[in-house]
Subunit: 308 residues, 2 copies
């Protein structure tokens, strides 16, 4: 097996197969990790990380395909990490057809990869972070992280990005589907996709009202709400402009420290949860808590290796 460091060097040099194998190594990471991490960091080029999240069925994958085409036509190499298990971009029954249909399927400057939470020590957030670092080192920019906004850990992964886009769909005409998973709390941009459907403009208006400080009680500036149709290719250029423009906002000094703190804390929680679940005592502790033989706080502390 090739050494991780050699894979990294090859990946930086443009070898896509080495990049793919490097990510596999990072996914199956263990305590050998740190050496490569330092090298990965040095090799990073500061790519724009763009999180795309939202409920399943919102057309995220089609939207990402369309965005990728826009970025490619501007000469940018685009990386996509799909943490969404339902994403047709990677895996699943429809994979074959969709990938073949994609105009970028033979383009070596588009790199699409499905992420699985297989790391021994790292959770989903850590694994995805490492894969994004590898894509950054290999020269991809932007790097899209696609997650489905169904559970807390997926939302946390999307929130690691510089710019987090929440994709909504105007289902049932007048119902806003964003209810789940604190999605709007992490949104820098909100997209009402499938804008060709009836109710899209109404849904956008509702979202704008909800997100206004008076309506939704969100304590920061309300994120812009855009309407797109990946099908009819409307609103896409506006979205690319908005994403690119947000980068400047994200790079304001007062935001940079806050984002750094948020990233550290999300990765701390992710690593701690992953370590707890990987602990050989996990099942025993969970059963003991369920049987009221111990309490969850003591169990949590023991699983973290704290004095209990």
């Amino acid at each position: 097996m090739t050494e991780p460091a050699a894979l990294l060097t090859a990946a930086i040099g443009g070898d896509r197969r080495a990049l793919s194998r490097l990510i596999t190594v990072l996914e199956n990471t263990d305590d050998r990790l740190p050496t490569i991490l330092a090298d990965l960091l040095t090799a990073g080029r500061g790519a724009h990380l763009v999180g795309v999240t939202g409920p399943p069925g919102g057309g995220k994958s089609t939207l990402i395909e369309t965005l990728t085409a826009e970025w490619r036509s501007a000469g940018r190499a685009v990386g996509v990490l799909a943490v969404d298990p339902s994403s047709p971009l990677t895996g699943g029954a429809i994979l074959g057809d969709r990938i073949r249909m994609m105009s970028h399927s033979a383009d070596t400057d588009v790199f699409i990869r499905s992420m699985a939470s297989r790391g021994v020590l790292g959770g989903l957030a850590a694994t995805t972070w490492l894969a994004a670092a590898a894509l950054d080192a290999a020269g991809f920019d932007p790097i899209v992280i696609e997650t489905v906004g169904a559970g807390q850990s997926e939302v946390e992964v999307a929130a690691l990005a510089d710019t987090t886009v929440v994709v909504e769909v105007p289902e049932r005409g007048d119902e806003v589907q964003a209810i789940k998973a604190g999605l709007l709390e992490v949104a820098d941009l909100v997209v009402v996709n499938k804008g060709d459907r009836p109710g899209a403009d109404r849904a956008a208006r509702q979202l704008r009202a909800l997100l206004s400080p008076a309506g939704g009680r969100i304590r920061r500036a309300a994120p812009p709400v855009l309407v797109t149709s990946a099908l009819e290719r409307t609103g896409i250029t506006e979205l690319v402009v908005a994403v690119d423009r947000h980068r400047a906002v994200a790079d304001q000094p007062e935001r940079v420290l806050k984002r750094a703190e948020g990233r550290i804390l999300r990765l701390v929680a992710d690593e701690a949860r992953a370590r707890a679940r990987a602990n050989p005592e996990w099942a025993t502790e969970a059963q003991a808590v369920a049987a009221s033989e111990t309490d969850p706080l003591s169990a949590a502390r023991r699983l973290l290796g704290l004095p209990s």
Copy 2:
């Protein structure tokens, strides 16, 4: 200073001042904690933990006051832990008046306490969990945990309960305000409060549609949606019945293990985040990440004491 163990014994014996001081000790906990924890656990009587959460301004405190009156008239001793900094039940400018107005203010079988995240090692979830254990040991049942659904950690605290009630308010007539913070994801019961206002029934219908498996794509059974008016005292008896009835659902064996796992993982994440922030290197690490001198994953691992 009285020893924690002595405070616990006195609290179990019915000494409310000792209970209050015990909770203060638990809030300022350090590595002496474990001894008391074991005793606390043994002393627990299995009280019903009821989380009440939702956006600010939803009338949670008034609703809890009304619920408390119902439970008291059934002869139950009621504990209330308010993690909501805006709660008029505890703290804040209106505290004095409200508390004096409350019919239970002189009732020693109602114990209201404001929680602060002051623990050295423990986060908000851990501190609240310990305080609930103290109330349980002192014979309170049910124990209400009131949090404001504004941030992830508050939602996680409410989700530690056996039964989590999300309180909505039909603001602006037809807009559903539940958008934030993954609130509905943790809801066992949803309450549209201020049912005297126009739009309450419509908001309830909207929420039921959103929460139906077809509408909201939530993967478990849809939580009941109730309409209450704390002001007009309507729907309160129904809510008490629904909360009490949910306890039986929560105690189903397949739910007990799942809840145990969820509690452990929430407390693991909470403890890990609190430890990271309490680490003397926290500010240095955050600044180094902000300056791109290190990456957030390495920083997270160092702050957790993992090899980096």
